[in-house]
Symmetry: C2
Subunit: 201 residues, 2 copies
Amino acid sequence: MTATPTSLRERKKAKTRAALREHAMRLFEEQGYASTTVDQIAEAAEVSPSTFFRYFPTKEDVILVDDYDPVIIAAVRAQPPEMSPIEAIRRGMKEVFDSFTPEIWEAERRRQSLLAQVPELRARAMHQLSEALDMITAVLAERTGLPADDLRIRAMGGAITGVVMAVLPPGRMTGEASIEARDFERLQEGLDLLQRGLPLA
Amino acid sequence: MTATPTSLRERKKAKTRAALREHAMRLFEEQGYASTTVDQIAEAAEVSPSTFFRYFPTKEDVILVDDYDPVIIAAVRAQPPEMSPIEAIRRGMKEVFDSFTPEIWEAERRRQSLLAQVPELRARAMHQLSEALDMITAVLAERTGLPADDLRIRAMGGAITGVVMAVLPPGRMTGEASIEARDFERLQEGLDLLQRGLPLA
DNA sequence: CTAGTTTTTGATAGTTACTCTCATTTCATG
DNA sequence: CATGAAATGAGAGTAACTATCAAAAACTAG
């Protein structure tokens, strides 16, 4: 997260990339996602439209890039092996979230708000989550020693991902979308319920 | 499912719609999704390109239209109220699947195969599933008498949807995508595991 | 610092999904 | 059959992408 890129080239690329993301976010908020063109974003970031597509394969990707999922997975992997899988996942997520600066929270809040509003983005965000499911399933398999395509492993991974999906935004709970500490507490409770066994009366 | 449309107009529209879907499916299989243009589909179905977009808002929708989700929800609702929620969902799904003709299974198999192959379609299919989650959650709320935004309800809906996501294709389990009786059995087992409580050692 | 190599960029042209508008055709109804 | 409503086709326009190629910027060696 703090690995400073070395060469001038790398620094410039990182800068351009960040500029594109920030201006895109700003313009989307100001004018709406659909009515903001890639050309406008490129112009605001002072690069050519071609360059935009060199940094992001589609207009959607400029806000869909998710920097944290792999970090969370790594944090989960780093938990002591004797810990129960759900507990490991919970702690891993908590560690990462606790490491967020207020700026990151704010950026993430704005991002999630957009995801909640634009259906095409929501769709792709869901897809990302389903890929997270695969990673979580892999971790579960490692920890239990069972094969990754074991039904019990898949079901567990699915259930955990489903709880995350149901409890966190984009746009799921009451009111406007926002990721905050509160949401995280709810997630903790949700996983807790799953662990104890759901009330399936 | 068998409500015959009355007027000539309705019949023609249904025919055009079906023709567009079938030719699209065929062309996608023959040439690939990306390299098939909407114009080609329209031509094959003998309508103008404009007409295509009158029937389907986007190229994606021509294969994404899901006819069965609402049917399943209705079937779940129809289960006796004293039945446990998971059991109701399981029976509802079984009833609907059992009503499928071999032709429907075959069409569904081809559809799922495409969904598994084309990432953009997978993304939207996942989004559909997440909307199914909302419906399932609503049903759970009705049956338990709890409010729909109760955390326990949301967590349960999420877990159920997650299991469905993890166990069914598109493209999740081993081998190529296909929906068959086997997949359904796996789904039954998966839900069963969830109901009994997952092995969360 | 210079010269040569590689990487990144910008400009241009082209394809295709999708939108809007309007005239024409096709069905429904009295 | 006549009149109104709904569906279609045709045309022009926008914007997201793709491919190509030449110019510019950055790394590397001498």
